[in-house]
Amino acid sequence: MFKRKNYFALGAVVFVTLAILSLPPRATSRLKLAIGSLFLPLFGLANTAQQLPVTAADAILSRRELIQENESLRHENQQLKFLQLQTAAIARENDQLRSAIGWQKQTPWKLKLANVVMRDPANWWRTAQIDLGSRDGLRENLPVLTNDGLIGRVSSVGLTRSQIILIGDPNCRVSARVENPTHDIGVLGAGGPLDDSLVGLSYLSSGANLKSGQNVVTSGEGGIFPPGIPIGQIVDAQQVEFGLYTEARVKLNANLGALEEVWVLFP
């Protein structure tokens, strides 16, 4: 009897697993989001717990420090307003010049701030989840960046949260351009499992003129990432496949290990 019970349990689990694995991708995605939503109360609790020290620190901050901070912020705000005026003038001029030579008008980026609520528990993926979802207008493949540069793209969207796939994950490929005289273009691919600050830039032409410290930005090819988003700097480069093409290592501008707030870009 005991053995029969064992075999029944084993068979039931195998059946359930095979049934789940053979579900269509859309159903799997929905089921994943539904199961993941069970953790929402815990994420809320964790968020509140993280905010508590900040609130406590704010409460005990002296009036003198607050006045100083307020003063420096006011000063910074004035500088930024001036910079914004300059930028607006440059943008207007850019629009006029683009229309004069018949180029398409550039639309300004729309950004939405999101909090990173969790990281992937598996060591073989480089993903994270943010607290914006379809109700905030998010959709798949929107670029995600920090103030330092590009970090990845939105890979799946739920109602209130979305999964972002970070640069260095094998499923996040970015067409990138090196800011050098030859404007070499390559594909940013997988990084190493341990160091998330370095990623590989491959398929560069064999005659690419690469030097350490050259900036790498998005090329705009591929249709997902708009051109010009900073990614990182070239660390080193080497010829691969018997000199067929060049491969470089890129040090990312953004620190992927300490993501807290990110921007979702609506091109």
Partner: protein, 185 residues
């Protein structure tokens, strides 16, 4: 072995998966996140029944996969592959010994990620693997090994504090007491 124990193990699995996603301490310190589900599976396999082990494999696997980029259901079979044989053969294991718990925890924590990655590769996924993965595997194995005896102590404490304790039976019965007095002698 009761329902309380199973509920406790499932609650611990839920919390373990949540903690793995929120607290990145081991990832920053050692370059890898430690998975506590194999350690929990060892506890369940040695202290509960096959049904509880199966429920833990399904629920734990689904929770883990729901929060990761793994295809849903990929972790269920590796967890079961570790828990089921140990549960069936547990009478031959010195489960009270911390060394046995440590060794089984290490074994489970080493086998589960390897089987998961094998299933992923078989299914055509492209996980992030390299020489650094070997270090991550060692960290996961060591972390799971250390966590297993700790979990046993914690669960024993929880069971003692919250669960019903078996009544201690006394062989004394008042109706069968032999009364002796001087006359009877």
């Amino acid at each position: 072995m009761n329902v309380f124990n199973t509920i406790l193990v499932l609650a611990a699995a839920f919390l373990a998966v949540f903690c793995e996603t929120v607290f990145s301490g081991p990832r920053h310190l050692f370059g890898a996140q430690v998975d506590l589900l194999p350690a929990l599976m060892i506890y369940a396999a040695l202290n509960t029944n096959v049904v509880s082990v199966s429920i833990l494999a399904v629920a734990g696997g689904l929770w883990f996969n729901a929060l990761s980029a793994n295809p849903l259901g990929v972790t269920i079979l590796p967890l079961l592959a570790v828990g089921f044989p140990i549960c069936v053969q547990r009478e031959f294991i010195l489960r009270e010994l911390p060394f046995a718990q440590f060794f089984l925890g290490a074994l489970a924590s080493a086998v589960v990620p390897v089987l998961t990655v094998l299933i992923l590769l078989t299914a055509g996924s492209n996980p992030l693997l390299g020489w650094g993965s070997l270090w991550q595997w060692i960290v996961m194995t060591a972390g799971g090994a250390i966590a297993t005896p700790v979990l046993f102590v914690l669960f024993d404490w929880c069971n003692h504090a919250l669960g019903y304790q078996p009544l201690t039976e006394n062989s004394f019965r008042s109706d069968r007491e032999i009364h002796r007095d001087k006359k009877a002698k």
